[in-house]
């Protein structure tokens, strides 16, 4: 095992961490950078709770080593809101009651944010298909799909949704 200096950008901030090569990116974000919004459910790529946005693409942070993220640009759920103001997607989740216990929510928000940033016109079928990679045991998904559908308008405006 080796400790390797690893540099990347997270939520707009340049960071450097000294991580063991075996450390997952999820554990690095949570333990080294104290970004505990990223949740770990299954730790083998099935539940989607640990989804982050890496260079614009939604990925499972439990299926990557932190050292693999060297040089990349990462957005976690903490990077979606502007200070205390919820992002349009987050506000839509609140309005539509799209969470109950909230454990899966960070992964669902990052996944939906990545999707709508690329496909602001995604329809309900596309949204359901994408969210099939995120397990929610509370909501039954209907309110989540509604929330994502209603957030689309914010991503269609230039500059919105980042």
């Amino acid at each position: 095992m080796t400790v390797m200096p690893t540099r990347f950008k997270v939520n707009g901030r340049d960071v450097e961490v000294q991580v063991d090569s075996r450390t997952s990116l999820a554990d690095c974000l949570r333990h080294d950078l104290k970004l505990t919004g990223t949740h770990l459910g299954c730790e083998h790529g099935v539940c989607g709770a640990c989804t982050i946005i890496l260079n614009g693409a939604a990925v499972r942070s439990c299926l990557m080593l932190a050292v693999q993220a060297d040089g990349s640009d990462i957005v976690t759920v903490e990077g979606l809101a502007d200070g205390d103001a919820l992002s349009p997607l987050q506000a839509s989740f609140r309005k539509h009651h799209a969470l109950q216990c909230g454990f899966c929510t960070p992964g669902i928000l990052t996944t939906a944010h990545a999707l709508l940033s690329e496909e602001p016109d995604a329809d309900a079928d596309r949204i359901r298909s994408v969210l099939s990679g995120n397990i929610c045991r509370c909501t039954g998904y209907i309110s989540i799909v509604d929330a994502v559908l209603h957030a689309r308008a914010a991503y269609r405006r230039p500059g919105a949704g980042q």
Binding site: D20, E43, H44, T51, A57, V59, L63, D70, G133
Partner: protein
Amino acid sequence: MKFPALDYARPDSLEDALALLSSGRGEAKALAGGQSLMPMLAFRLAAPRLLVDLACIPGLNRIAVEADGLRLGALVRWVDIERHSTLRAAHPLLAEAIRHVAHYQIRNRGTVGGSLAHADPAAEMPGIAVVCDADISIAGPRGLHTIAAGDFFTGALSTVLQPDELIVEIRLPAWPSGRRWAFEEFARRAGDFALAGVALFYDLDSSGCVLDPHIAAIGVSDRPLRLRAAEAAIAGARITADAIRAAAAAAPHHIEIADDIHAPADYRSALLSTLAQRALARAACLSIPEETS
């Protein structure tokens, strides 16, 4: 579970990667997208001492649509195939099969080479490689060589790839226009590995008879398999509902069907016939009522 202790290297040339794999004396493993390997590490089904990350090796993520076929570099991701502007027209069967691979987030990192090397019996890419008579290019300490996909897979999660070798590229033969094709699979949840799947294509001769049918199954055995009995049943025939029913019934013949916790062999065998019938009907644009029992 947390990953086992390991060393990590990210070489920037194929030569360096091969040297690192050789230095590992069988305990080094190549890392591409990691979407199969990292779960294996989390479950301790694999515990390599050294991971050799291929991410910085130039040229391995190329997609080339050429007159004599389609070439996919080992690091081509599922999302690259999905978004490619001409690939769906150049190889509709590949494009359709890839739509079924795993979930959105996995598709952003999972790679063609990784899927071939991992060799899950239910994975789509190995099935497409086998049904299309693809060639797989492998680099190793003794240079480059090519192997037919039909000879590459040796069992569940097993291939002829040696610990000091790397997949560089897969080549699929050119796809003539007018070719009939279909891909069908069944999984209990979206994105899960299929309990069974069928990929097929054939051409039609000037009198409308089936020429050179290729039919393969995934998920029913320890590796992707050609369904020779079903192929023989439609070769030279006119595609009618009766011909399709006969070929579908023959689909499970002469293959050893897996029996595991996900499904008993007789269920998988029936599912294989059903999927073969659906695929043949779809390829022929026919609607055939399915028996329910």
